[in-house]
């Protein structure tokens, strides 16, 4: 049909690129709330099918015919400019899906661990994952439920064994600008991280 009209469009279109930020944390800590408050689209859910075999501690002997499990994850989007799009991906809350985090985390610019201070223990898996892997920069964001925090950032750092250099900030997941501050803090930290790892000379 009118393929010529399309092709010129297409060339400029090819400059488009994307990046990803991972939003992790315990179940109900405010991951999806954060994604939806900063996203330009309502959070989208996509599903990945996993074989039961990959879940080591699942006993399938009772239901031998059950061979797959479905894991859902939410994501949102921010169009930075004509050429750059940033996606935010929420990790599945349950710790048993840690194997999926590897896939999600690969290629991420950085990660945010959202913490509900009333349930600190729920965030341990996520913090532990990023402390152990050290592949991408991460920050900790304390979600203020009812406008208050039960612990100080330093108490949380000690309780969750967060490394001294990792930024810990508080925010309100329901507020767009507060969520935006979290993303900005992560990017500033990621840039600092990159500069520090730049070879000397």
């Amino acid at each position: 049909m009118v393929s010529n009209d399309f092709s010129s469009d297409n060339r400029s279109n090819r400059k488009k690129m994307s990046s990803k930020i991972v939003i992790a944390g315990g179940f109900g800590a405010g991951k999806t709330t954060l994604v939806s408050s900063v996203s330009e689209i309502p959070p989208v859910t996509t599903e990945a099918i996993m074989t039961e075999a990959s879940i080591g501690h699942d006993d399938t002997s009772i239901t031998p015919d059950k061979t797959t499990t479905t894991v859902a994850m939410d994501f949102g989007r921010i169009t930075i400019d004509d050429e750059l799009v940033m996606y935010m991906f929420g990790t599945p809350g349950q710790a048993r899906f840690w194997f999926m985090w590897d896939d999600l985390v690969r290629g991420a610019v950085g990660a945010v661990v959202v913490v509900d201070c009333r349930r600190l223990a729920d965030s341990f898996d996520a913090v532990d994952y990023f402390e152990t892997n050290r592949r991408i920069p991460y920050i900790v964001a304390l979600n203020k439920f009812e406008g208050r925090l039960d612990y100080t950032a330093e108490q949380v750092r000690e309780a969750l064994e967060v490394s001294p250099e990792v930024p810990i900030i508080d925010f309100d997941a329901r507020q767009r600008n507060s969520g935006g501050d979290v993303l900005k803090t992560l990017l500033r930290y990621a840039l600092q991280h990159n500069r520090a790892s730049e070879p000397v000379g």
Binding site: V2, N10, M17, V44
Partner: protein
Amino acid sequence: MSFRRRRSNRVRPFTFTGGRTRSRHPLMVQTLVSTSEPGKEPPSTLMPESINIYRLCRETRSLAEVSAELNIPLGVTQVLVSDLAEQDMVYIHPTITGSSPSENQVLERALRGLERLFQ
């Protein structure tokens, strides 16, 4: 860690991906995909799912968006998009991972963009 299984063991071997569960192209959930020649109709030899991907990606989309909009699980979408890329029917856009200092310029651009959007 040795008990960590490779992806090939975790994705259900869908019959319509010809038994392959790995894509040949570095496709991540955030990677953008667009149809190489949007003006052209997809070849009728393609599978219905691939035809749908071809049509949908006339407007650039991420792999995760393709998966969500067409209701195809991520792993399967990955393989189908990879096949389309192999046949030059879709273009796989660059993905900024921020892992090399050469990408700092883009990260700085992203930061400036966020500063503009969230004041």
